[in-house]
Amino acid sequence: MTEKMTHIERVLASLGDQPVDRLTVYPIACGVSRRTIGDGTMLYKDWCSDPKNYAQGLISGQKYFDLDLTVGLMDLSVIAGDFGSHVRMDEQNTPFVDDPVIKGPEDYEKLQAPDINKGRSGVILEGTKIFADALKNETITSGFLEGPLLALTQSASAEKVFMDMYNNRSAVHKALGTFTEYLRDMVKGMGQSKPAACMWDYLWASYSCLGDNEYDEFEGQYKYAGGLNELVGKEGMALAIHNCADLPHLDTQIKAMKPAAYTMAYYPLIPGSPSASEVIGKGYADNCVVCGNIDPQGYVRWSQEKMQKTTMNLCQEVKTALCARGLKSKYCIASGCEVPPSVTTRLENIKTMVDTVKQYGQVTC
């Protein structure tokens, strides 16, 4: 199918709410893209531990699925692992921390930041440079980093951190300070890799987890996320935020933090979980490209017909809401969270989603 705009033209137009030939589309297909390399048998652990493999997967996935964007999401155990947590590395699925480095209150203050160029953080920095360079004339690219509170909860278990917010408040802040300093170095490293944007995963900003005050104290404030967001701009990258939680703090993360793009999920069973039309209708897409919200399990469990119908319905919902709001293009049809990187994910469903947006994503108000 020949299209009237290039990926870059379309994304830039969307960022400025200019007319587009169709809505932008981005299934967050990162780890799963390794399966588009060669004979498709690359193991997850080989993809996520080698910068060339990591970049090659993202480059190959962009071409295979014809994506408008490329984001370098790896998994959420990267920083915890580099700080000393043990990561269980399954061959074909998302790795996770099975032995956190922080076991007791005293461990918060003992954290030692590693060299950003070693471990999987180094893989991300080096790999981002490779894919950002390779795709600079094809798509808008974005690096991906875990926010400080996420890095801490991965390093200690979320339950422990949440209780220690009250039981050992100063120790938690000390650890957040350590992670923030580390992340400042990562942002500077990311700036040298030259992706167009840097996307933060700030997933604890959810009303099913933290209230506004707690989120502000333990991540949102200038000392942590606020300053990191500012640094992203100073390093020449656009700010993007990912939050796949059920009840995201949209006022904080969109209206106050002012990202250029915000990716989010939708949980129809959870009362209050905002749908695409509600998000647009309430003005969150006025100054930010909101990206969402195909259910990630659809890539594993649905038929191609169901994926096509769901994507068509989302396109229609988004187009109607954009027109009602007087907007032209500030929504990207995306997955609500990462497309599962497992071997059971149906690559044809990813392709179907993209092709459906190409066919039904034209906005005519």
């Binding site: 209780m163 949980y267 959870i270 594993v300």
Partner: protein, 212 residues
């Protein structure tokens, strides 16, 4: 302190997430002749129910809920050994855990706490629980309720493996299975042969109570 004051203190200890107070007032309850079951039901559980309601209304958030749960268990550790044998015999056993390959256990821990507060004797198998451990738990623990959760799509199929394993070993008919976690739904529960699905801890308690 008199009985009613002690019960109110226990309730408040849970609401404020003060484990030390919970332990202190549980001991005080026993020393002052308050029945252990009364102290649990009209003190600790009453407090936890209020915490659950506040969480549902977004007046409380996870830190407060987790501290309340820790406080509840602090009091229960003191009081449970003092429940008469005929009282403990009435408690329905439930087993709970996060399926293999997943370590997200906050939701599971809250459901466990609320089911404990609802009167069940919950056996917690933790996170990343192998299929055979779930399957064997039903007979081993004499469970009537089996609760499983996962937050990740790729690990959902582990729930079906547990159901299939229970059918295979003949224990499926003796247990009611409830599942939860972000990617799950009632249609998925129906697909894999589970009995119930809950979107949160409050709904889990409601649905479990309906089948007791």
């Amino acid at each position: 302190m008199q009985g009613q004051e002690i019960l109110a203190a226990l309730e408040n200890a849970v609401i404020t997430g003060n484990k030390a107070d919970s332990i202190k007032f549980a001991k005080e309850a026993l020393e002052n002749g308050v029945k252990a079951l009364d102290a649990i039901d009209n003190g600790l559980v009453k407090g936890m129910t209020i915490v659950g309601d506040k969480y549902a209304k977004h007046e409380f958030f996870l830190p407060q809920v987790l501290l309340a749960a820790a406080s509840l268990y602090g009091g229960l550790d003191i009081l449970l050994p003092h429940i008469p044998t005929d009282g403990t015999a009435k408690r329905v056993v439930g087993v709970i855990g996060v399926v293999e390959g997943d370590v997200h256990d906050i939701g599971k821990n809250i459901v466990k706490t609320m089911l404990t507060a609802a009167g069940l004797d919950m056996h917690d198998y933790g996170k990343d629980v192998p299929v055979e451990n779930f399957v064997n738990s039903v007979k081993k623990d004499g469970a009537f309720i089996l609760a499983m959760s996962t937050l990740m799509t790729p690990t959902m199929d582990g729930m079906k493996s547990v159901v299939d394993g229970l059918i295979e070993n003949g224990d499926r008919t003796t247990v009611k299975i409830i599942i939860g976690g972000a990617p799950t739904s009632q249609p998925f529960a129906d697909d894999i042969g589970a009995d119930m699905h809950a979107i949160n801890a409050q709904e889990a308690v409601k649905k479990v109570k309906e089948v007791l």
